[in-house]
């Protein structure tokens, strides 16, 4: 599968609040914890060998679950597979909480759910749909019922 690697590397260089050296352990058997520079940019988690400019790897933070492992570490489980789990060790409880929080909030699924929630609530409280003023109330991605993938045909939501 082709992907725009250069653009992704470019993305990894963008400024980010969530960038720190953490212990990281991959999901494969036999993987050990290594210190990596971990950086969260939009919904991607990049990890670098310390002092290297180009990232070693990138993880798409969608369809994943974040769990507390112990006081200072958390894990990200992908694909709902217990085996596909990455472990991260932080330097403090606070840091651990920050990272977990940021990763959870990075996904489009999270943003969408919250958008729909706010939209519904604002409408309930004020009688107005807040997306109307922007002319985006018909976009399929903001519909409450939109939970399943479209099956066929071109969508003309916009």
């Amino acid at each position: 599968m082709r992907f725009n690697e250069k653009e992704l590397v470019f993305l990894s260089r963008q400024p980010s609040e969530m960038a720190a050296e953490l212990g990281m352990k991959g999901h494969k058997k036999g993987d050990v914890i290594k210190r990596r520079l971990v950086k969260l940019v939009v919904n991607f988690l990049f990890y670098f060998r310390t002092d290297e400019e180009e990232p070693m790897g990138a993880l798409l933070l969608e369809q994943c679950r974040v769990d507390r492992e112990d006081r200072q570490s958390f894990s990200i489980t992908f694909l709902d597979e217990a085996e596909r789990k990455y472990l991260f060790e932080c330097d403090s409880e606070e840091q651990c909480r920050e990272w977990m929080d940021s990763i959870i909030k990075a996904s489009y699924e999270f943003m969408r759910k919250n958008l729909i929630f706010y939209r519904t609530e604002i409408h309930r409280l004020t009688g107005k749909d807040p997306l109307e003023q922007y002319g985006i109330s018909d976009e399929t991605r903001f519909q409450v019922s939109n939970g399943l993938q479209m099956t066929s045909g071109e969508t003309s939501s916009l």
Binding site: L11, L60, R65, G147
Partner: protein, 275 residues
């Protein structure tokens, strides 16, 4: 750099909502001819494969850091994704008709993470304002409609005990109010990307208990953290951004239509195209 491709392909094939999909002609990366591709837009990822029924993905384009431009090409209804950084390629597409072209341009423009993040901040503020304006309205415990109840999709993935409910005062990385990038008269539509952080004044405030019952996710044992309200001018920023987008799209389409009428050819910028 190693991209965990399985995560990406899984995301495309899973039940999560599709923002837009349809056939587009895509200019080849090696061959220069346009090839018909089934394109699926989910979030900031544009997937493409040979046909709708194909299970294998040909490729994916991460839509961060790029602008969407109309371009003149051998094909009608063409547009391109352009990165400003030298060395990054341009992706050229062509739609079947003007409606499809406009629709795709709009979708791709607002696909980036920062756009949605900004909109979210805007709505969050509106929600807090609404709660303040209607103090007697008890927020009923809100149950998110349980879409995707088949189990293997994202609703299952979110049954984590550790999830937070609503955005706290720490905005997600790389998100934040955009200074809507200086929108000039040029024919480029600037996708909102790498927005600068707003100056956020956060003051932790404990909301009355009854309002905290309103949760966006149907998870009963959520730890209810402190609600931090921040006085960022999210509304102004997103409104302006949205206005600017709308203006740009109109200008762009009008300009293009005029030029078509006049028979002029739009000169594309010279971009390094590593093909």
């Amino acid at each position: 750099m190693k991209l965990d491709e399985k995560l990406v392909t899984y995301f495309e094939s899973c039940n999560s909502p599709v923002d837009k999909q349809g056939y587009l002609y895509k200019k080849g990366e090696i061959k220069t001819s346009y090839q018909k591709r089934w394109c699926v837009l989910k979030g900031n990822l544009l997937f493409y494969k040979e046909s709708a029924s194909d299970r294998d993905l040909t490729g994916v384009i991460v839509l961060e850091g790029c602008t969407v431009q109309l371009c003149e090409s051998e094909e009608q209804f063409a547009f391109s994704l352009v990165w400003s950084e030298p060395g990054l390629r341009t992706y050229k597409f062509a739609a079947d008709d003007q409606a499809s072209q406009e629709s795709w341009i709009k979708a791709l423009l607002s696909a980036n993470h920062g756009y949605l993040s900004l909109l979210l901040m805007d709505l969050e503020k509106k929600y807090r304002d609404a709660l303040a304006a209607f103090p007697r309205e008890t927020a009923k415990p809100f149950t998110m409609p349980n879409f995707g109840a088949t189990g293997t999709d994202f609703s299952a993935a979110y049954r984590s005990r550790q999830l937070s409910t609503l955005p706290s005062n720490k905005a997600p990385a790389a998100a934040g109010a955009a200074a809507a990038s200086a929108l000039s008269n040029s024919a480029t539509l600037h996708a909102l990307s790498y927005p600068t952080r707003p100056t956020v004044k956060s003051s932790p405030k404990q909301l009355p208990r009854r309002n905290i019952n309103a949760v966006p996710l149907n998870i009963p044992d959520m730890p209810m953290g402190e609600w931090s309200s921040f006085c960022v001018n999210a509304e102004d920023d997103f409104s302006k951004l949205h206005e600017d987008f709308g203006k740009e799209v109109k200008e762009l389409i009008a300009r293009w239509s005029r030029q078509k009428r006049d028979g002029r050819v739009v000169q594309e910028e010279d971009l390094i195209d590593f093909g």
